[in-house]
Amino acid sequence: MKQDVTIKGAAHTPIIHDSAIKHVTGQADYTDDIVEPTGTLHAYLGLSTVAHGRIRSIDLEAVRKAPGVHLVLTAEDIPGVNDICPNGLNDEPLLASSEVQFHGQPIFAVIAETRDLARRACQLARIEYEELPHVLDAISARDAGMPYVVTPLKLARGDMSELERAPRRIEGRLTVGGQEHFYLESQVAFAIPGEDDEVTINVSTQHPSEVQHMVAHVLGVPSNAVVVNVRRMGGGFGGKESQMNPFACVAAVAAKRLRRAVKLRPDRDDDFAITGKRHDFVIDYRFGYDDDGRILAVDADFYARCGFSSDLSGPVTDRALFHADNAYYYPAVELRSHPLKTNTCSNTAFRGFGGPQGVVMAERVVEDIAYALGRDPLEIRKLNLYRNGQLTPYHQEVEDQILPRIFEELEASSDYHARRQAVLDHNARARERGDAIRKGIALTPVKFGISFTKTSYNQAGSLIHIYADGSIHLNHGGTEMGQGLNTKVAQVAAEALGVHIDRIKITKTTTEKVPNTSATAASSGSDLNGMAALDGCRQLVKRLTAYAAQAHGVPPETVSIGETVRIGTKAMPFEEFIQAAYLARVQLSAAGFYKTPKIHWNRDTGQGRPFYYFAYGAACSEVSVDTLTGEYVIERSDVLHDVGRSLNPAIDKGQVEGAFVQGTGWLTSEELWWDDKGRLRTHAPSTYKIPLASDRPRIFNVKLADWSVNRENTIKRSKAVGEPPFMLGISVYQALNMAVASFNDYRENPRIDAPATPERVLMAIEKLR
């Protein structure tokens, strides 16, 4: 099929986000902005005030009598099953009834005339606890014999006796902190009851089908009674993959009970307290290497603070192991996960999904070697890069390695070698003169595996209607959280149908149109939903072409569908053609489907091909450190990142920049701090510090590797972009490490733990001073 007009918004063009104008004018509706039906009520959650305890008594009399209160819900009021565990292990009650397992666990809900009244009423509860010992962090949990929340994973390959035989060995412990998502739009759900057993939930979620299943489960109704709608989220980052469940379920239960619309939006502090975060890890590692700096064998234990329930901790801790090699070949390797139960909120998905924590360990290993050998860490990195044909610790063959070229180009564009020398010179001068400012520079890679490791999740659907007036309605199972998924999928559809993108209306995600969807997660949104949309469009084009050929008596090869439809020697506008097709009773709607080929994974053996392909990238960052306070600035970062053939270079670049800064936040100023009572004291932006505009790299050169083409047959040969660049923030972390190492003439790795807050940086300096 040929097209003779250049369409607007085709794939690979840098068009703006489809909601950009609505964003800047305040006209984009988020869940809390949807017009409320008359009589809408507001729910609020009452939370545990202890980290672990048996509930002795719950006195909610004063709550019930508080002004404006319509209903108080406890565990007993749940009509179906009091469980919102997303993985079938049934270990996460919606409302705690006999035992509370973390500070901030929901125990009851109040539904009142206004949110303020519901919130105030919650304060009147009198709950008595028999406090039980609590365990807050992973190592304490291990030492206290706390159980695993899921079966641990072991990855092993090669002959581990190489470790003992290695000419050089190092061991160490790396503590890497968690991270709060801090989506700007906090959790929110808004349930509207329907007739019989039906209910509709508008909710900010990455996983509408999960909400549908959970609400059905909690209400005790079949999934066909529950409709879940998501127009857009104000950010997700993994925090709305399972963590929306309590809000959606409470709103749904209340709406059905009261037969009124019920909205539930927690205050930001409660959102912090209730919802899970990125897992923090303590990683004990041992490795052997040779005199050249070649890694020979790696052995590591990954202890993760999973929180009180399993949630997504299984696949998260698995992915930490999958990425503990980052871009480096380990000839022999054994990695073990320890997904430990703790009395904290249940940690969950967060951009990278455990991968970043694994990658940090790989980069620590490389730096340990570099400092021990007195070499530039970049040399050690290059020496150990995978070559095609080598096996990962999970026995997948690396086939698409492009890091050597990325390194080569980035070394040149960032002027790495000259700048590293300048940094070394600066530090030498500073030492001589007693200047306070030291510098560091680091160039680090990322290799990230793309696909859900749960193979069944790698499927997607779409639904495309062409209306008789020629307007097109596009729907798919992915959700829009700012990443531009809807724009990219619409570009795919526009090109496939040969029409301008403004002919296509991108609509809300709803379980009514595409069923059984996977979470929009694992960077998979465009890969899966783009392909599903393409499939739907191809069906339509095929059907329309056949109709045109038959109706006009021409060979199908002479038909092309597009803004101008050409049929043999005839041409007509799309609208006219569609009108004719409608009158000829051609089905103008198609459901598309896609499943990722080639992938398989056996968790029991720790072997398979869990990833369809890898995405690659590298960043070079230079920092300046104030050695009297530990404060620092990122002077410059250069990024070269691989998104294959980009579906939308502007949107993809935005993903790379945003992920980079979010990654630097994780490793610098974002610190989660629980007090000894198990209260999270970094509970809101006043105390939990994500990067500001003034924290971004002073000079920030971000480029897409525009020569890269996915060797696998992905949508338009693009690659996933959501998560991989998050790990490029590690370049900043390692640059800080180098600045500190200057105090010891780079003779040993200072091994700053993450996040490298100004405090950790200064204390590391003081240790070496």
């Binding site: 800047v24 700007l184 980052f237 935005g654 006043s686 002073r698 200064l762």
Partner: protein
């Protein structure tokens, strides 16, 4: 006395008789007026998603600046022009230059923070048509974006500046009309309530003294950058609340030959030009107080009166030897700022008194410095802060005042360290001795902002930093080049 609150909301005149002290501007916008472009991100003035512009008459001139609607009480909007993102439009009714630049540069991803960024950038665009990178970053200190990494937003700020068009902007076109409307609101006491939740706006400072005499249990609310959280986070009852942010006679800044007297209602932003002119060494410190929206709302008097152990301004004011004036119907009294802080949560203020002004001696020949350290450079609460005022006769230190925040239950001078400085040679060894001595001045806490050890180390290092800077050389991180 009026029992009606009056203000302009975009193009609409608003008159309200039923307003409680706890009602926030954000809830009013979103719930009552369904202006949902303004978002709630944190309800504590730290994310900027709720940024709106507030226009006020200052000495008869209409002045617009961005503030956080989430912790702005509705009652304090009396006599103001509230401008939300819905009011922002281009001269031709299309996108405003700021909005167009944000679209063109891909400045939004999820879009939730975007209206707040647009409003902060709008405020900057009006106030500073040619901002440099430093001005842009400073203007964006109060806005969090979790998606973009900020680069495209900063580019949009430059592009909006290039586009210009300030003269055609609606707020400038309508300036005279709005000024006249606001000026016509009578300057009488306003007393409104919702049920028993009562808000009082005195007519002037004398009336404020009278109101406090009548209501000694009243909560005094100036910029509400702290009191706002008492309501949004702790659900506290602040009624009756006395709002004082509008009082012109608490907004005076008087410069004498050797001192500046700052009205208690002067905001951080309003005083910033004076910091630049008279205490330029403290400008970086000053711009690290809150974000821009917070500095536009928060007052110096409120910051002192509130008695936080961290302070922000108190360490600086104490080091500079500032005094403060408290006033009641019985008259006024003066005391050194350092004496105001008695203990944690306890200040030397009678219930019927209010802070009227603060007087700061100019620095003369003294060497001054102000340092703050926090986990994040901007818009973060201090882990440890110190301010120095050191006078020498050329070779010997004749008077050293060093005050700290975040190190004790109140902002406090470092007596041991000062003793190690006074009468000693102005030399590296002296500051090294003071760095050691300060260890005996404080027993700081460990908390989520910093450990005790880190705070102690910082306290010592501040003395080393002071000497390094005074002895020449460049020893500080530059945020902006």
């Amino acid at each position: 006395m009026a029992q009606e609150l009056s203000f302009l909301l975009n193009e609409t005149e608003i008159h309200l008789t039923e307003v409680g002290s706890r009602d926030t501007l954000l809830d009013f916008l979103r719930l009552n007026r369904r202006l949902t472009g303004t978002k709630e991100g944190c309800a504590e003035g730290d994310c900027g998603a709720c940024t709106v512009l507030i226009g006020r008459l200052l000495d008869g001139r209409l002045h617009y600046e961005p503030i956080n609607a989430c912790i702005r009480f509705l009652a304090s909007c009396h006599g103001c022009h509230v401008v939300t993102v819905e009011h922002l439009r281009g001269a031709d009714g299309g996108l405003h230059p700021v909005q167009a630049a944000m679209v063109e540069h891909h400045g939004s991803q999820c879009g939730f923070c975007t209206p707040g960024f647009v409003m902060a950038l709008y405020g900057l665009w009006m106030q500073n048509p040619r901002p440099d990178i430093g001005a842009i970053e400073t203007a964006l200190q109060g806005n969090l974006c979790r998606c973009t990494g900020y680069e495209p937003i900063v580019k949009a700020a430059f592009a909006a500046s290039e586009a210009g068009g300030q003269n055609m902007d609606a707020l400038n076109v309508e300036r005279e009309r709005v000024t006249a409307w606001l000026a016509a609101i009578p300057k009488t006491r306003v007393d409104v309530a919702r049920g028993d939740d009562r808000a009082i706006l005195p007519a002037d400072a004398a009336d404020l003294a009278q109101v406090l005499a009548e209501h000694p249990k009243a909560t005094i609310v100036a910029g509400a950058t702290d009191v706002g959280l008492w309501v949004t986070k702790f659900l506290r009852n602040i009624s009756p609340a006395v709002f004082i942010g509008h009082l012109g006679d608490l907004k005076k800044i008087e410069l004498d030959r050797d001192q500046i007297t700052i009205g208690a209602g002067v905001t951080y932003s309003e005083f910033e030009p004076f910091v630049l002119q008279h205490f330029p060494e403290a400008l970086d410190y000053w711009q690290r107080i809150g974000g821009w929206q917070v500095r536009n709302a928060g007052t110096i008097g409120g910051n002192v009166a509130n008695g936080s152990p961290i302070g922000e301004t108190p360490p600086l004011l104490i080091a500079l030897g500032a005094t403060m004036t408290l006033r009641s119907t019985g008259g006024t009294r003066e005391l050194p700022v350092e004496d105001y802080f008695i203990a944690y949560g306890k200040q030397d203020r009678r219930p019927d008194e209010f802070v009227e002004s603060i007087t700061v001696p100019l620095k003369g020949q003294a060497r001054i410095a102000a340092y703050k350290v926090s986990k994040r450079h901007h818009a973060d609460i201090t882990a440890s802060a110190a301010a120095f005022r050191v006078e020498t006769d050329g070779t010997t230190i004749i008077d050293a005042r060093v005050a700290f925040g975040g190190m004790a239950a109140t902002p406090k001078r470092a007596a041991n360290a000062e003793a190690a400085l006074n009468g000693q040679p102005f030399a590296a060894e002296t500051f090294e001795a003071a760095a050691r001595a300060v260890a005996n001045d404080f027993q700081p806490l460990s908390d989520w902002r910093a450990s005790a050890e880190y705070r102690q180390q910082l306290a010592a290092n501040f003395f080393r930093r002071f000497w390094l800077e005074q002895s020449g050389g460049d020893h500080r991180l530059r945020r902006v080049e």
